[in-house]
Amino acid sequence: MAAPTVPQPGESAPREFLHNLRRLPSTFKGAWLRLGKVPESEREESQATFHNFFLHIHSVRVHVRTLAPTLTLGLGLIATASFVLLCITGVLLMVYYKPSTELAYQSMKDIHFTVATGRFVRNIHRWSAHVMVIAVFLHMARVFFTASYKKPREFNWLIGLSLLVVTLALSFTGYLLPWDQLAYWAITIGSNIANSPRELTDAVGITGWFDPGGFQRRLLLGANYVGEDALIRFYILHVFVLPVVLVILVSVHFWRIRKDGGLARPEDSMGGPAEWGGQMRPVFQPLASKTYGLMALVRGQRPPVNRGPENTLMSWPHLFWAELAVFMLTVLISLALSFFFDAPLKEIANPAIPENPAKAPWYFLGIQELVSYSAFTGGLVIPVVALLGLALIPFLDRRPGGEGIWFGTPGEGLVAGRSALFGLVLAVGMLAFTVNFGWLRSWLPQIHQLWILVINPGTLLVLLYAAWSLWILKRKNSVRLAAVALFTCFLVGFAVLTYFATVHRGPNWEFYWWPSQWPVH
């Protein structure tokens, strides 16, 4: 028991001062931690959760299914943890990085070779970025294959998609900053993809008075060429605009998880009466919007509400230990990668000649392959159509069932497996055909560009995937299974294109079995 804080009346002020000074550590601890000790009862554990700014975004109790590592694989948390790492290392890099075409590359060299721990900090930044991109992709796949986007979580699925776009935008703006060969030619290609609606407006001859492509390009570059204005724009996007947008979206994402009733999971069995207080009592169903007081949260102190009595656990300590473990694991992975592998830095930007081949980072290589068929359809139309398709899923698939269970809809595993096979064969076949026989332009050099815009390996692949999905829709009579078919096809197609462009594309974007066969320049 702590000694009384308030001195007795009649004590002198100097004594009161000394008394307070002696008690400073414990009064500070009390002011800081509020609870002031490790919680010992469930009541105190509840207080520990909602009396703490960082913990109060969690619910006090968490469902046992939510805690099972196999449900989420911790992917969302891994993405969040790597973002935290990225913010910390990013600020450190800002200390030395100079966003100027004259100085940027040299400051990268300084960070790499001169600044104490600079190389390590930059490595962490680079590898955490890769971890974040992978985690975000896998997190989306996890949410999809556990049907966790279904009502009432449609909006959070959309927030998640926006987060995917922002994550990729952060990666893209980030790898431009070193102003090396990769940076310069990526920004050139990226801004020309923004310009690529011209491929269409040129083909139909209206660019003179309607030129959205040119507008987008000038907006990105701030000029008609890639230079200082472009670098500053990308720098501002990378270190300020996009991180702020991401933090806001993540906050909404987390908030909506609570508001949508926690992570998606199957309905608890309502069954008959539940045991409580040593007796069987009827389970009563609360109103959906009811807010519960503290008394309703503590084990054994409440009537069973809407469930069998004990399928939740206290967030403190169960959830927090799990979160801490995932966080530590992410840090460990990033640190280990950073210790063993240095982040690449190419030669200084040379506007005269790109590297051959000039390859984007892995997550954009699938798009680079599509772009090598047509800039506008591959670089803008197909990605936008894919995003719109993803956004529509929860609004088209509205039949409840399977939430929170991997491949939980009857027949889903089979459809996913067959779709993966279909997507794989089709993508590989399309690539093999294109490599061996070329495409329209090789056969008919005079052909109008409109034909290539509309009919190219990318659009054919998308159309065939869509046809497969429609066939599943009709045959299996299930919107969910049609969505599974399409999503799986796209996932596999994306993986095949990424692999193909990574391994089998060489100088002049020609096909090689292995990079070791590339001709020496």
């Binding site: 030619w185 050139t188 290609i189 790109p354 051959n356 772009v371 090598s372 800039a375 090789s442 974007w509």
Partner: protein, 95 residues
Amino acid sequence: MGSERIFAKENLFVFRDAEGVYAMSAVCTHLGCTVSRAGEGFACPCHGSRFGPTGAVLGGPAPRPLPQLEVTRAADGELVVLADNEVPAGTRFRV
């Protein structure tokens, strides 16, 4: 017979043949990478566009031929390429 000179910094080629001098952009009409010599014609390292000796598209994603650029003579008698002015293919500047 003919000769060819590459202006790497300006991203263009200048050719001379029996009929005269002409210049061609080395910037791929697809997404702006710099093309380089590949056999008779030109190839783009970024997405694999192929161009013939006069810049016509032979394959790959490029929507338009490599543009031919205007060649003219400055007041001091020097030949200059006006890199912003496209001229029809086959145009020659007689010297």
